[in-house]
């Protein structure tokens, strides 16, 4: 493993066509749960193989068994259900989850596939959960009168899942809060909830956040109780580098630095990636700077995702060589 600039991804990978078809067939009742699960395992093996082949340092299971980061857990959690269709953009709709009762942990939700993926590789596989704030913020609420109580109940449920991953030996646990960047006024609540999830875990904890006006919430957002902030930086023109350079970044924290724009079909050049990494290095030394794409890769095609990761690795190797981190 390199002595710095460790590489990873945010979590999701594009689903292969055969899996997408199988998911539709399963939804229509034409495929059994076990037949679908077999294809999910096949796709997970392929995602692990791709990450090994590209040369990433910290892997993910690719979320082949999740449709959507909120709906997947909402289907399983006690006190949640899948609601009616709501438009997301253009002609795309999704079933928005609804809180219908007291939220509770139903037993392991992500452990099985994490374990399956970890058994396929010597490299660490991240456990990836959706954060309590985002789970609630992106769902309807038909039940709770008190929003804080709802978010904290969700935090307690997600904590039990995190503890399971921790006990099973996950070295990294990522608890994503993409909803937070649009509602930074709720930061205190999100921090309180996150502290319930991450308290006392042995694993290194990470939170992924989408692009937002972090300057206005500086330095308070750095109180989110995780060791690593995984930020969407390429898409924001690396303006976070300026913020952290001017006002500092805590010495006991790490950054995962997005150098690949996941919203764009165009594949970056290695030099663009290298330039993005150098921006990150102006903030943090390579031991505390992880390199990854801006966000989950599931919206890209399989070819685009693979091409983007290979270019990312090329850019990383270029900078590692410059710094003598790698021969």
């Amino acid at each position: 493993m390199s002595r710095g600039l460790l590489t990873t991804t945010v979590g999701s990978f594009p689903k292969p066509d055969y899996l997408q078809r199988a998911r539709n067939q399963y939804a229509a009742g034409r495929l059994s749960r076990e037949e679908l699960a077999e294809l999910e395992r096949r796709a997970t093996r392929e995602v692990i193989a791709l990450q090994e082949d590209v040369g990433l340092d910290i892997l993910v299971d690719g979320e082949m068994y999740r449709g959507d980061m909120v709906a997947y857990f909402a289907e399983l959690l006690e006190g949640m259900a899948i609601g009616g269709l709501v438009r997301s953009y253009g002609n795309r709709y999704y079933h928005k989850p609804v809180v219908t009762g007291t939220i509770g942990w139903p037993g392991p939700m992500s452990l099985e596939m994490w374990r399956f993926a970890q058994n396929l590789t010597q490299k660490p596989v991240k456990g990836i959960l959706t954060g309590p704030y985002t789970m609630v913020e992106w769902s309807f609420n038909d039940y709770y009168d008190d929003r804080r109580e709802m978010i904290l109940d969700m935090a307690r449920a997600m904590r039990q899942e995190a503890v399971e991953l921790d006990r099973a030996g996950a070295r990294y646990i990522q608890i994503d809060e993409p909803a937070l960047s649009t509602r930074l006024e709720d930061l205190d609540l999100a921090i309180e909830a996150m502290s319930i999830v991450t308290r006392g875990l042995r694993a290194r904890t990470i939170s992924h956040m989408c692009y937002g006006d972090f300057a206005s919430a500086y330095p308070r957002f750095l109180d989110l109780p995780v060791q690593q902030f995984d930020m969407e930086t390429a898409n924001g023109g690396y303006d976070l580098a300026d913020l952290f350079k001017a006002r500092g970044f805590p010495e006991d924290r790490e950054l995962a630095w997005g150098v690949i724009d996941v919203h764009n079909h165009l594949v970056e050049t290695p030099e663009q990636v290298a330039a993005g990494i150098r921006k990150g290095l102006e903030v943090l030394p390579p031991e505390r700077l992880y390199i990854d794409p801006d966000c989950g890769l599931k919206t890209r095609t399989a070819e685009e995702a693979a091409a983007k990761l290979r270019v990312m690795m090329e850019g990383v190797r270029r900078v590692r060589k410059e710094m003598g981190l790698e021969q």
Partner: protein, 334 residues
């Protein structure tokens, strides 16, 4: 003036703009299917438009069936509240997806590449169609110039101000075209100002430009927040009715208590962003509070924002409940 029907002649029941485009099973998602088929080249543009027309009629009828006094075409043809209005203007191209305020909905960001110009009516045909097929009065609803500018990339004007005023000029022509076609009530939505309250003077200048030569009754709806810091100054804006969000902006009740409300009030009291059903008695209570500031006859009751954040059936059920609450309020308060 809007001619108000319905059992309660004093309060007007209405919506803020959008309506969910597709229903849930077992009802078929006709519009979604038609767009998919059009994208795959399986149906013609004319066939797609026919489905859009049919769904629009369905949505007009659903609003009327719920008992609303003043309705919209539901913006069924709109891909989002920016693209539909700006793409027919000269000088605009449409770019990638961006999150719409703090919702989990995305819109395509307009890019203003060259000086803007209004070339042709954008919503006029839609307005004609809705009026022709509606049993209730229809109001056209446009996204306001300030919000359009804020949610666009400005590559043509030196300042936000230049961009806002140019959009106001363009939308003024649209508003005048609607007025000429018989619209006696025209609404503009400006949620973005609540995120940038320091720009109220700019909104005022833009609104004056926007409404030049417009004699129809006009409304301005502000949602996703409260008017703290710009109240009572918002009352100086040249609209006849100001619509406010009393769900996310629940503090608006307190603000109104501090200074007299001198216009008609849009009372956005049904939560347009959550499925939890309001109780009729709570609606009555909220209307009672509002009558401390504004006479019943000057109130338009509505959801807090457009209804597209809700599943279709929930949206309709909420409208039914809203009308029921307003009816009860009429009995209790008049």
């Amino acid at each position: 003036m809007v001619h108000v029907r319905g059992q309660n002649a004093s309060v007007v029941t209405t919506v803020v703009g959008s309506y969910p485009k597709i229903p849930n099973r077992p009802r078929p998602a006709r519009l979604r299917n038609a767009i998919n088929r059009f994208d795959r080249g399986e149906i013609t543009e004319a066939e797609l438009h026919r489905v859009e027309d049919e769904v629009t009629i369905e949505v007009l009828e659903e609003q009327a069936d719920a008992g609303l006094d003043l309705i919209t075409d539901g913006q069924i043809r709109w891909e989002d509240e920016q693209t539909y209005l700006t793409r027919k203007l000269a000088g605009v191209s449409i770019d990638g997806l961006t999150r719409w305020f703090d919702t989990n909905m995305y819109y395509r960001q307009p890019v203003i590449e060259a000086p803007l110009a209004w070339r042709e009516p954008i919503t006029l045909q839609d307005y004609h169609f809705a009026v022709e097929h509606s049993s209730r009065p229809v109001k056209p609803v446009l996204t306001g110039p300030y919000t359009l500018a804020r949610l666009s990339q400005n590559g043509a004007y030196d300042s936000l101000e230049g961009c806002v005023l140019a959009l106001a000029e363009a939308l003024n022509q649209e508003a005048r075209a609607l007025q000429q076609a018989g619209a006696s009530f025209i609404q503009f939505n400006e949620p973005a100002i609540l995120r940038h309250k320091e720009d109220l003077p700019l909104l005022r200048a833009a609104s004056e430009r926007l409404l030049q030569g417009v004699d129809a009754e006009t409304a301005l709806y502000l949602y996703f927040g409260d008017v703290a810091g710009i109240y009572p100054q918002v009352l100086e804006l040249p609209f006849d009715l100001i619509g406010l969000d009393f769900v996310i902006g629940a503090t608006n009740y307190e603000l109104l208590r501090q200074s007299p409300f001198t216009k008609k009030l849009g009372l956005g009291l049904i939560d347009a962003r959550n499925t939890k059903m309001e109780r009729a008695e709570d609606i009555v209570d909220k209307i009672r509070i509002a009558t401390e500031f504004v006479p019943l006859g000057c109130i338009h009751v509505s959801p807090s924002a457009g209804l597209e954040f809700l599943p279709r059936e929930v949206a309709q059920a909420k409208l039914v409940r809203m009308v029921e609450g307003v009816r009860r309020a009429g009995e209790v308060l008049s």
